[in-house]
Structures are given as structure tokens and as C-alpha cells.
Amino acid sequence: MAYSNKVIDHYNNPRNVGTLDKGSNDVGTGLVGAPECGDVMRLQIRVNPDTQVIEEAKFKTFGCGSAIASSSLATEWVKGKTVNEALTIKNTDIVKELSLPPVKIHCSVLAEDAIRAAIGDWKKKHAGSEAAAEPVQAKA
């Protein structure tokens, strides 16, 4: 399988690899996929409680090169966005940006799921506050 240059670039130089303290109140953690399926993504965000802007994002991924690239790209894209803006990122945007072939679409779906799961986790921690009152957008 030939990879696009962007996938290769993210694979060789993954952005924002790492771990945030999942116990911290301003951190949201999304862990999606399953080892048996050959792909597990963990995406974490640190959110500014006042502005709701995602100030930091980290990932670790077990999966193919496209899965690694999708999650690396996802961390780049969510950074600087508010949580509600981040929820508008679609897997199809990732497919387009990385020129993923059809068999690799599920890798991008996983990245979208990871963003939603991380934001969902953060919102849960802040249940009762303003952020939680905002409805989570329906999945495309």
C-alpha cells in the first residue's frame, strides 16, 4: 500500500505524543478501539476552564500508520479550538487531509471517536457547569 506524504510525515514526526494526568480536573481522556481490532487510540486534552479552549492535546496510538497519522493530526486540529468547535471535526476532514484510501477510513473514524470521547470525559468532570449544558452534536 502506498501512503500519502502527509501520512508518512505524521508517522515519522508524530505531533503531540504523550500523556496528560487523567486524574486532573481540566483533562479529558478518550480511549477508543480495542486491542483485538488492531487499533487503540488515546487522545487527551487540557481545557482552559474559563475560555473552554483546548490548550494542550496529547495522543498515543496502537494501530496502522494511518491510525497514527489520524490521531496525530487530530491533536493538531483540536489545539486552540474550544471544545464545541473541536466537536465539529469530522472523520471525512481527516480522510481528505491525509488522502486515506477506503480501507483506512475506519482509522479516521476512530480519531473522530477519540476527540468526542475526550471531550465527553472532560464534560462529565464539569457536569453541572455551563459546558455540560451544551448539547453534544449528533454523530455524522
Binding site: 508518512i8 508517522y11 480511549l31 478501539g33 481490532c37 494501530g63
Partner: protein, 423 residues
């Protein structure tokens, strides 16, 4: 993979250079040995005759070359030349053996026994027969990759006509106890076919000692050309008959019609003769290289797992899982090395290797597997390069692996509720 580069590997105090990319996927196919090519060339040029032309020199030359090749092949496996039927490769040989016996012995019975780890050429042929009213038993294998002789004995009944079990597996290289399997078959009056594609020329194979009645061979796994193979069909004790699957001019004593691929057959013959002469030394060298690769990887990486028994295995095969690293991402990191993976992400069906699953490995371990096939033209410097590159890449990917991090923190992955998308 089209560019050729030269890299240097430091191996203790010795430093040797290797040419990139490195081919270490010799179970998929092998390069043609220059000696084999040399033997073949005249049969494309001056000696282009049809081996079935009985009335001129062109035909006689071709026929002579074919008969010489038949001898060379037969000699390598302890058969007689008349017992070799030329085919287009092992897929055809497997089809001809299994369907040919099934059709010929239909009156006697309709039951066939095979194993879960067979090549698709055998499994899919059996599946086809199931649709046509045959019964097939798929024997399981243990974690070592071997079938149990007791299971086999229990599976044979009065309707069993054929047992088909491979000599050496193409993914994990394990050698089945063929001689014992053949003995059981003969005691019960059942024919025994073995797909010996990966074993021929790598380990001593002898159809008499191994009690084999039909055996599939292909040239391209033994440094011969692609698209040519043979089926051994025993002529006495017992005399095996098969129903032809391709009708036509009645070549190969009616068992396989079609004008013979003379240059290919000459190549197959030459490949067998070379393998026979080189095997004692070559198998030692390959085992040394394989063991060196294994040791280097084991000394430098934790959480690795060898798939299948090391005790009964082809000398050039190593199949290892680098747990918590997904196989396709690993291949991407070592893209100047040609090996293959049992990972689902590398397959068109997104299913991990059925051979590894048959060993009882979890899918996660199957996803992390790499098959190394070390062959005649691999050097020690290449093995060092492959080991070093692999160690670096696995370490890098484990930095990226949430699973590796969790395991190192003492989390039991089996206890996590994974929110899996339907994969």
C-alpha cells in the same frame, strides 16, 4: 522501494554494508538463482521445441530436457521420475491432488481430513468439495502449530479417502510429523497428500520414508521460476489414481493436459539439483542467521513472543510478535526491508492471520506479528541491519503505544472495557 541505497551496519567491530531494500520474505517467493536462469535460457532461444512433438529434433530436445528435469526433481525427494506430473505451480498441484482423489475414490468414501493451518490452495479446495457433497474435517493445531496424531486417528472413519496435511507451514515454518501421519494413513488404508512447497530443498524430504502418496511442489520457493510446479503421484504401494481436472491433449499420462512449460520445467529441475547439493551447508547457515536474528531481538526488546514451536521448524523461518505494536505500522517503519505481517491492517479483509489464530493466539498478538523468511541470498550483514532497524522501530512505536504504557503501569488490558467499533 524502487531506489537502491547502501547502508552501513555496525556489528561489533566489523562493519559491513548492505544493499537496500533487503528482501527477507523468502516464504512468499524467492529470487531465481543465476545458475537456474543459466540452465533455462537455451530453452527460450534455440531449444524452443514442443516436448510433445515426436517427429523432429526440436521436439526431442525439449522432451529430453523435460525428462532430465523429472529425474532431478524425483531424486531430491526419493521418488521415481515417472511419478512426477508437471503443473503450473502448487495451487494447481493441490487442486489436482485433492479434487483428483476425491473424484476418483468417490465410490469408496467422501470424507477428507486436513488441518486448520493449511494454505488457502488446500483449504479453499476442501471448501469447494464440501459444497459438492464431501465431508471435511479440519484438525486443530496446538500452540506449537502441530496437529495431534491422536486427533488424526480419531478423525479417520470408514468413509475417509484422503488426509492432506502440509509438510512445512508458510507462515510459521513448523514441520508437521508427516512420517507418522503417513504411517497412520497407510495403516488405515487412506491416501496421504502433503503440500511440501515450503519444505522441499530446505529440509530432507523423502516420499518413501515420509509415507507420502501425493505431494505438491512449486519452483518459485526454491529459487526457480514462478508458474511451474509438480505433483508427485505414487505408482506403487499403493498405486494412486487421480481424475484429471484439465482435459485436452492427454499430456502427463492423461493426468494433466497442456503443452509443457519447457524452460520452466528445466528451471524447476535445476533448482532441485542445486538444492540437493547445497542443502547440508545452506540449512546450517540459514539456521545460524535465523538464531542470530532471534537472539539480537530477544536481547534488546521485551514483550516479544515466538509463534509456533522452534523445535520443528524450517531453518530460515522466524515468526515473532512484537506485542503492543501493530504490524502494519511496524512494516512502515522498516520500509527498506521486505518482510510480512499477520496483522489485519495489512490484509484486504482486515482479518488477522488465520494461521496465528489457529495457534490460539489472541488477535492482539496476531496483529503484532512479523514473518521473517531468510533465504539463500541473505547475508549476515543484512541480518544485523534488519535486527537493528527493527529494534529501533519497535522502541519508537512503543513510545507511541498506549497499550505498552498501560502494561508498564501494571494495568491488565484484559480487564479494560474496550469501546470497540465494529471492526
Amino acid at each position: 522501494m524502487s531506489t537502491t541505497a547502501v547502508a552501513t551496519t555496525t556489528n561489533g567491530n566489523a562493519s559491513a554494508s548492505v544493499k537496500l531494500p533487503i528482501y527477507m520474505d523468502n516464504h512468499a517467493t524467492t529470487p531465481v538463482d543465476p545458475r537456474v536462469l543459466e540452465a533455462m535460457l537455451p530453452y527460450f532461444k534455440n531449444h524452443f521445441g514442443n516436448a510433445a512433438s515426436r517427429n523432429h529434433q526440436f521436439g526431442w530436445e525439449a522432451e529430453q530436457a523435460v525428462e532430465k528435469a523429472r529425474e532431478q526433481i524425483a531424486k531430491l525427494v526419493g521418488a521415481s521420475a515417472k511419478e512426477m506430473i508437471f503443473t503450473s505451480g502448487a495451487t494447481e498441484s493441490d487442486n489436482l491432488a485433492i479434487k483428483g482423489v476425491a473424484e476418483m475414490y468417490r465410490e469408496k468414501g467422501n470424507h477428507i481430513i486436513t488441518a486448520a493451518t493449511e494454505h488457502k490452495a488446500v483449504l479453499d479446495t476442501c471448501k469447494r468439495l464440501e459444497k459438492n457433497g464431501y465431508r471435511v474435517t479440519y484438525l486443530p493445531v496446538g500452540a506449537d502449530g502441530l496437529v495431534s496424531l491422536d486427533d488424526l486417528k480419531r478423525a479417520i472413519d470408514d468413509k475417509t479417502i484422503l488426509v492432506t496435511i502440509m509438510y512445512a507451514n508458510n507462515e510459521i515454518g513448523v514441520l508437521q510429523p508427516v512420517a507418522e501421519i503417513g504411517k497412520i494413513c497407510h495403516e488405515k488404508g487412506v491416501l496421504f497428500h502433503s503440500d511440501a512447497v515450503q519444505a522441499i530443498g530446505k529440509v530432507p524430504v523423502n516420499v518413501i520414508k515420509d509415507n507420502i502418496d501425493l505431494m505438491s511442489i512449486t519452483a518459485h520457493k526454491i529459487y526457480g521460476p514462478k508458474g511451474v510446479g509438480a505433483l508427485y503421484v505414487r505408482r506403487k504401494n499403493p498405486r494412486v489414481q487421480i481424475t484429471a481436472q484439465i482435459d485436452g491433449g492427454g499430456h502427463e499420462r492423461g493426468m494433466r493436459s497442456g503443452t509443457l512449460n519447457v524452460p520452466g520445467i528445466v528451471g524447476l529441475g535445476a533448482a532441485c539439483e542445486i538444492a540437493m547439493n547445497d542443502m547440508p551447508e545452506e540449512s546450517k547457515r540459514l539456521a545460524y542467521l535465523r538464531d542470530k536474528l532471534r537472539k539480537k531481538l530477544e536481547d534488546n526488546l521485551d514483550e516479544i513472543h515466538i509463534n509456533g514451536t522452534m523445535e520443528h521448524r524450517l531453518p530460515g523461518n522466524l515468526n515473532m510478535s512484537f506485542v503492543y505494536v501493530e504490524g502494519e505500522s511496524l512494516l512502515m517503519g522498516i520500509n527498506d526491508i521486505a518482510v510480512s505481517s499477520g496483522s489485519a491492517c495489512t490484509s484486504a479483509t482486515l482479518e488477522p492471520s488465520y494461521v496465528l489464530k489457529a495457534l490460539g493466539l489472541g488477535d492482539d498478538v496476531a496483529h503484532s506479528s512479523i514473518r521473517f523468511g531468510i533465504g539463500r541470498f541473505n547475508t549476515e550483514a543484512e541480518v544485523d541491519y534488519v535486527a537493528d532497524k527493527l529494534i529501533d522501530t519497535v522502541k519508537k512505536l512503543r513510545e507511541l503505544s498506549p497499550l505498552y504504557e498501560m502494561v508498564k503501569e501494571g494495568i491488565d488490558l484484559k480487564k479494560i472495557q474496550w469501546a470497540a467499533e465494529g471492526h
